[in-house]
């Protein structure tokens, strides 16, 4: 034990003499742990929120009975099943509008609600009476209370004119859901005696077969392992995870180069220790202990940084998830103990992986071998060939995945394989470029420049690989975001056809507003819209009512359309489907679909497919008059107006004054557009932030590699100095070299980045969001990125080069006197 401590002290003395190396090692570990655990924290937070939503009052976590056409069914089936011993609890569900905002109204029956229904809010004993007995209660999340701008006990009015039971806050509830007693919900939704589904609790007996009680009127749905929300948001989290992983590996590159260098430099020390009688096992154990201690310390700091990163990104992530998928994530970060343990664990595991080659070398260390501080650079050629072969193998995997893979994971795997292959291939490629340069070089100094760059390659290659990856990802992601941004704005212009949008609080008020508007001379057209909800092949689908107006015909963003598509829409037997829906269900123009409607199913021809970016819900667009005929309950509270530009502000003020409407209820096109673009930009703020982080980590990798190389490069530089090159000249050459290599890397990153962008747009986006964007290249952006890369390299190289320029001649002379 004592001996081990002495060995540890000796080993640690190295770091005292090379604090920069220690800093490098720690920075690498901290960076790796911080980004990884930050991303994990965000993902965990989101998953918890999905779980909460899923478990709420028997979401998909509870087995249930539903009607085969997913329509409502008679309450008598509930009674029949209960009387047959089925442990069922009825639920009715629908949507209501309050002040133009749509909420999910859930009617539950608390007495039969299965106890095992997840983390359903527990009503207090005396609350049962308050919840069930008139006037009852509306349970809402505190966030919803705030959204409604209401206090507990208030009874807001819904669009049908009826009032909700008094509001009552329940912290466990998810936002945007109103929970009321089943009888109240049936009344509010106009579904008297109707149920949406039956939750199945733990059996209290041995009920007979389902079919013997209800025939084929109900079917059992087993609890899904994955919720719809989880499925939808998977891509987003995979995205984050991919960034986290990338940063983690870039961090490990840093650790690897720091540990490798430290090990090379400590070889003589290790040999001396062995010669003094320390066993190889003891030495190795102490080396591992040293590494674990460092990893522990760095892991803790990394976790704190990770927490800060997660807390900083969470509001944007929450906004993205809300905008993209309608998923509600609390903005306050809460972490479990496992997260901290996992973070420390990943730091230690990462450090051990990064140091594995060095540790293996230490085990095999021959006692009497001579010091070979340059040993790792000797086998360069063989190593390049091997790595090149590995790169080709990885490319082959990427191709196979591209050919045969069909999932989102496969899409990401293609990306990962492409980038890994490119990174592995980079040193070989640079070697070829430098070799060509060397062949063409004239004059001894130029020749040396190229040859020395080649010699330096193996030492810098890890950092360059990191830079390549970071740049490629950057190019890829910014190309995708820019593409999306332009497509989105064009699309938005098409979608927002009306000049002014009004959302009336209820139908009666909407009628009054319409008749008032008809009297206004500046109003050129009043366009009505409407939304209803239904199902298609068991999935919830939003029905959007489109007015029959020339403006819509001109601008509505149809991707594909049958001839005379708009004319087909008018009689009410045709529909347009959103791109997401068409991809998910494989629908094409000309197909026929059938959806449940209150008066019987509705058969629709698909006349077109339209882009519906950013909508988490699958959508069908039909003629609004037909929609109201088929779904008479549809609130007709949305009104669009065509108004000459100059009359817009005056009209808005007049409407607001006349009908006491707030800013949220009346908006002009520009405001709506600005709001949409703001949400859109926020969606990609996280991507941008992670992008910057990754590039930053790559910059650090480059800096640390250059710093660690700087010392070992003295023997190469000292002879040149001795021949007569000034230190500043030498420094300039060093700087040029670094920048040249960085430039090559950046130039190589461009095509790789474009391939990444293509993968993101053509594979990942389609799988993740259900839409495919046209692929654009933005040259200016690429030039900008190359400049950023060079700037980062310049900054990274500046410190070691400045040191060289100011190095004492005595230090350079020392090179010739030293062992080396």
């Amino acid at each position: 034990m004592r001996r081990a401590l002495w060995i540890l002290a000796v080993l640690l003395s190295h770091w005292r003499r090379h604090p920069m190396q220690l800093a490098t090692l720690l920075i690498g570990l901290i960076a790796a742990t911080a980004l990884w655990s930050g991303v994990q924290a965000i993902n965990q937070q989101a998953r918890n929120a999905y779980d909460r939503a899923a478990a709420m009052f028997g979401g998909v976590r509870t087995p249930m009975l539903v009607a085969p056409d997913a329509a409502t069914f008679s309450q008598d089936l509930f009674v029949a099943l209960s009387r047959a011993g089925w442990p069922v609890s009825p639920v009715v569900e629908g949507r209501v509008q309050i002040n133009g905002r749509s909420f999910r109204l859930l009617g539950i029956e608390p007495v039969t609600l299965p106890a095992e229904v997840g983390n359903a809010p527990r009503l207090g004993a005396s609350d049962l009476r308050a919840f069930v007995a008139p006037p009852g209660q509306t349970l809402v999340a505190p966030e919803t209370l705030a959204d409604l701008d209401a206090t507990e006990g208030a009874a807001p009015q819904i669009s049908s004119g009826a009032r909700l039971p008094p509001l009552h806050a329940q912290p466990q509830l998810v936002p945007d859901v109103l929970v009321v007693d089943i009888g109240v919900a049936q009344r509010l939704l106009g579904k008297q005696g109707q149920l949406s589904r039956l939750l199945i609790g733990k059996a209290k007996g041995k009920p007979g077969p389902l079919a013997s009680v209800v025939g084929d009127r109900l079917q059992r749905v087993e609890p899904g392992a994955e919720t719809e929300l989880e499925r939808l948001t998977d891509s987003f989290h995979l995205n984050l995870t991919a960034f986290g992983l990338l940063s983690f590996f870039v961090g490990l590159f840093i650790v690897n180069s720091a540990v490798g260098l430290a090990f090379e430099q400590r070889l003589p020390m290790l040999r001396t220790l062995r010669a003094c009688g320390a066993s190889a096992r003891m030495l190795n154990t102490v080396l591992v202990i040293e590494l674990v201690v460092l990893a522990l310390a760095a892991g803790l700091v990394g976790l704190v940084c990770g927490y800060v990163i997660a807390a900083a990104l969470l509001p944007d992530v929450a906004a993205s998830l809300r905008g993209l998928y309608g998923a509600q994530i609390p903005g306050q970060l809460s972490l479990r103990g496992e997260w901290w343990l996992a973070g420390i664990g990943i730091s230690i595991v990462g450090a051990l992986i990064a140091a594995a080659t060095s540790l293996v070398k230490a085990v095999r260390l021959p006692l009497l071998a001579t010091a070979q501080p340059q040993a790792w650079q000797q086998a360069q050629r063989r190593w390049l060939v091997l790595q090149g072969a590995a790169a080709l193998a990885v490319f082959a995997i990427a191709l196979l995945l591209l050919r045969y893979g069909d999932s989102l994971i496969a899409g990401f795997a293609v990306l990962a394989a492409l980038m890994l292959g490119a990174a592995l291939f980079l040193p070989a490629l640079l070697e070829i470029i430098l070799l060509v340069g060397q062949r063409r070089a004239k004059g001894p100094l130029a020749l040396w420049f190229w040859a020395d760059s080649r010699q330096q390659l193996s030492g810098l290659s890890l950092a360059l690989m990191a830079l390549l990856l970071a740049l490629a990802v950057n190019v890829g992601v910014s190309t995708m975001v820019e593409t999306f941004s332009r497509t989105f704005i064009t699309w938005l212009n098409g979608r927002l056809a009306a000049d002014v949008y009004i959302s009336a609080p209820d139908n009666a008020k909407a009628v009054a507003i319409r008749s008032w508007l008809r009297e206004r001379s500046e109003v050129q057209a009043i366009l009505s819209g409407g939304r209803a909800e239904t199902q298609l092949e068991g999935q919830p689908v939003e029905l959007l009512g489109l007015p029959d107006h020339a403006l819509y015909r001109e601008r509505w963003p149809l991707l594909e359309a049958a001839p005379r598509a708009w004319t087909q829409l008018v009689p009410g037997n045709a529909a347009f489907v959103s791109e997401q829906l068409s991809r998910r269900l494989g629908l094409r123009v000309g197909d026929v679909i059938e959806i449940p409607a209150p008066g019987g199913s509705w058969v629709l021809d698909i006349a077109g497919i339209y882009a519906d970016y950013g909508n988490p819900k699958a959508q069908l667009a039909v003629n609004v008059a037909a929609l109201i005929r088929r779904f008479p309950q549809t609130p007709q509270t949305r009104i669009g107006l065509i108004v000459p530009r100059d009359n817009i502000p005056g009209l808005i003020t007049a409407v607001q004054k006349q009908f006491a409407l707030d800013d949220r209820s009346v908006a002009d096109q520009a405001t709506v557009k600005a709001e949409s673009i703001r949400i859109f930009n926020r969606t990609f703020a996280v991507t941008g932030a992670l992008n910057a982080f990754t590039l930053g980590v790559a910059g650090i990798a480059l800096l640390t590699s250059l710093l660690t190389l700087a010392n070992s490069r003295l023997p190469q530089l000292a002879p040149l100095w001795a021949i007569g090159l000034t230190r500043s000249r030498l420094a300039a050459i060093e700087l040029t070299k670094t920048l040249a290599v960085a430039l090559f890397t950046a130039l190589l990153a461009l095509p790789l980045g474009l391939i990444v962008a293509w993968c993101l747009i053509a594979i990942v986006n389609v799988k993740a969001f259900g839409w495919r964007l046209p692929f654009h290249v933005f040259p200016l952006q690429l030039v900008e990125l190359v400049a950023v890369a060079l700037l980062a390299s310049l900054l990274a190289a500046l410190l070691p080069v400045a040191r060289l320029a100011r190095m004492q001649p005595a230090d350079l002379v020392k090179v010739f006197a030293n062992e080396r």
Partner: protein
């Protein structure tokens, strides 16, 4: 969901709550059947409570319980559908010397999941039911069929009787305290039961005697009263005896009884004439319960000792209590049921 259980427990354990708006229990009610077999929604609580002392083909004793409780959350006219203010709770149990199984169900009134019809008689909650037929005699409330099931037990019985139901207390008015708390109470103690009992998928044929209590009230307990010890006894002579003791916070308890002759005539027995003494205690569910009793009614030369078939007959339901078959010997012998609440 836990809330319903707790709410129910509160309702039953807190029987002393004021009877605001509910119908009062007053002496002099004239019972009318079959109407009074049905629910009395104007009163706060009500139950249909059946216990049976049975033996299987090999002579092994067992017991079963079937109970339907009704509680009104609010007084006033009955509302339709889900807005109905009645809550229903069912308890079923079987007890053998080596095992005690129980289950409970909850339901809301107004939609048909649970309820009671007077004619033809039917009391049900989910698939548990106590049901009459066209041949059911209104005065005897017989014959009936009875069934209940759970994951680890179920039973089905037919119940026959040849004597009318018996009014308890003073012509069906059962006074529970000096301050006027009371209930309407009648019983059918003369049921002969026959049927099958399934425990862990093993079916046995059983037969024996059963006792049904019908009771409703708006405020049967005084706030000082903490619980009751209640017995129904089938004497081998053919006589029946109902006894209970309401425990008070001050330690005083008021025993009360009703002796039912084999011909159905009932005679009240008052506190001064009853000695109920706990003799043996059992530790069940973290509670100490008097499961063995010595009971004496000197005026009738009646002195018996009761022992439980299974001391662990704890009903670990939302509203929990001890309820199990007993046997007794002494001056008289026979079988019966013991109920201990408020422990």
């Amino acid at each position: 969901m836990a809330l319903s259980r707790r709410a129910f427990a509160q309702g039953y354990a807190g029987l002393g709550e004021t009877a605001d708006g509910f119908a009062p229990v007053t002496p002099g009610k004239v019972f009318s059947f079959p109407a009074d077999h049905g629910p009395h929604p104007d009163f706060r609580i009500e139950w249909w409570y059946l216990t049976a002392n049975l033996v299987d083909a090999r002579g092994a004793a067992c017991g079963l319980q079937w109970t339907l409780f009704r509680q009104a959350t609010e007084a006033g006219p009955q509302r339709e559908g889900w807005a109905n203010q009645q809550l229903w709770m069912g308890h079923a149990a079987v007890t053998r010397a080596d095992t005690h199984r129980f289950n409970e169900l909850f339901a809301r009134g107004g939609v048909g999941q649970a309820g009671v019809d007077a004619k033809p008689f039917a009391a049900w909650i989910d698939d548990w039911e106590m049901k009459g037929a066209d041949s059911t005699d209104d005065r005897m409330l017989a014959p009936l069929t009875l069934k209940a099931s759970s994951t680890d037990f179920n039973y089905a019985l037919t119940l026959q009787a040849d004597r009318p139901v018996v009014l308890q207390g003073d012509a069906g008015f059962s006074r529970k305290s000096e301050r006027g708390q009371a209930s309407y109470y009648y019983s059918q103690p003369f049921f002969r039961a026959r049927g099958s009992l399934v425990i862990d998928d093993k079916t046995v044929d059983v037969s024996g005697q059963a006792w049904m209590d019908r009771e409703w009230s708006s405020q049967p307990l005084d706030p000082d009263q903490t619980g009751w010890d209640w017995l129904s006894l089938h004497l081998s002579s053919g006589d029946k005896l109902m006894l209970y003791r309401l425990r008070q916070k001050d330690g005083k308890d008021d025993p009360f009884g009703n002796w039912i002759l084999p011909d159905g005539r009932a005679q009240q027995i008052f506190a001064a004439d009853i000695q109920m003494t706990p003799k043996g205690w059992a530790e069940v569910a973290g509670r100490k319960l008097p499961v063995e009793w010595q009971i004496a009614i000197p005026s009738r030369s009646f002195t018996i000792t009761c022992k439980p078939l299974n001391p662990a007959a704890w009903m670990g339901t939302g509203f929990s209590y001890w309820e199990g078959p007993i046997s007794f010997s002494g001056s008289h012998d026979g079988v019966g049921y013991l109920e201990l609440t408020g422990y």
